[in-house]
Amino acid sequence: MEATVTTGSEEKVWSGGNEPLGASYGKMMMWFFIVSDALTFSGFLAAYGFSRYKFIETWPIADEVFTHFPFLHGVDAPMYYVAFMTFILIFSSVTMVLAVDAGHHLKKNKVIWYMFATIIGGLIFVGSQAWEWKNFIKGEYGAVELRSGRILQFLDATTGERVALADFAKPLHGERVTQHSNEGVWYESETTLSSFSVEEVVAGFEANKNIVARTEQSDEHGKKIILSREQTAERLSQATLVVEGANLVHNEYGNRLFADFFFFITGFHGFHVFSGVIINIIIFINVILGTYERRKSYEMVEKVGLYWHFVDLVWVFVFTFFYLV
């Protein structure tokens, strides 16, 4: 603990200006903010872990949820897209630390270009996350929610592949339309109706003999248990709702909490990336204007750099606990 020793006369100690921890005020406060923010994120991730342990047998399998890659429609590509996002963020961290390094040598032009690359990387990441959210919200196959709140997903009994509702549900040409508040008697409205009604799904199930369903429940190998035709028919009689995609109340992927945690944690992280980009842009403009050149210190770049690396650090954990484990 070498730092607790202060040397010099007493006037010097009490008149300020000494830095026992060897860090300037601004940098230290940035670190303290990061520590508290790290604890906030740990709280979220630990809560996620709590719910996951609580519902360990019914938790959705991430590899089956995040399967999209741009321009590859219908191709099952788990992991690749998040791997790409992770690389973008790590690389933007590298350019950030290179900007900090160039700042130490007062090389203004290098700082400008490295910060520019960092901002671009950050924007690509936020955009990627928006795309990921879009796919998650839109859903892919659709499912049916039972009276118990559990989800039934449909698959082909012969191939074992998932089947979208649109591929087997039987249109019944009902009269039901979305109710808007300006038309309802009691000014009540509802959310958009799903593309198919429960009756249409049941009719489609009866017409297609090779459609079976699987529950949220996993067997001991972590595979979801597939029901027989009879079991499926029995469960379907308790269906209350057709679910397509995800929101905070229903989601077609399985356990409801999964979507809630996904939105909350990646959303909170995405918001951090977004604000990081904004702060980076402000500092970037200052660098161009020569503010730090005149100050003969690029410490401000170092401070936003700390924040940016922290965002990367959090993503490393989110990546592990949402997509890998």
Partner: protein, 115 residues
């Protein structure tokens, strides 16, 4: 400034190389999920242990190299890292044990899967 202003460019690219390799290994393991790593060690799948350890290695490199903790004074470095090292495992331990307990309570007969 606690650290000298020599150029760290080489170190930065080395760390980037290490982190890239780790991420690629993680992604490959995540896609393949080899059968022999599915076994349980200390109550968790071997594969999950590998993922978590590799994540901690990456976190170490981000904090030490990119955030330059390795160049800060020891007292400053540990006043940042120690609270996190103590509080986060503590919180995770408590919540995971509790979640597991509630799972067992549900599992042993309080929730039916028949509807």
């Amino acid at each position: 400034m606690a650290h000298a202003h020599e150029s760290n460019t080489k170190r930065i690219w080395t760390v980037f190389g290490i982190m890239s390799v780790i991420t690629i290994v993680e992604v490959i393991l995540g896609i393949v999920r080899p059968e022999f790593l599915e076994g349980h060690v200390l109550g968790m799948k071997m594969l999950n242990w590998i993922f978590i350890i590799l994540t901690l290695v990456k976190a170490y490199y981000i904090a030490w190299a990119f955030m330059h903790l390795e160049g800060e004074k020891g007292s400053f470095r540990w006043s940042i890292v120690l609270p996190l090292l103590i509080l986060i495992p503590y919180l995770a331990f408590i919540l995971l044990v509790e979640g597991n307990y509630i799972h067992d309570v549900y599992h042993d007969g309080f929730v039916s899967w028949d509807f």
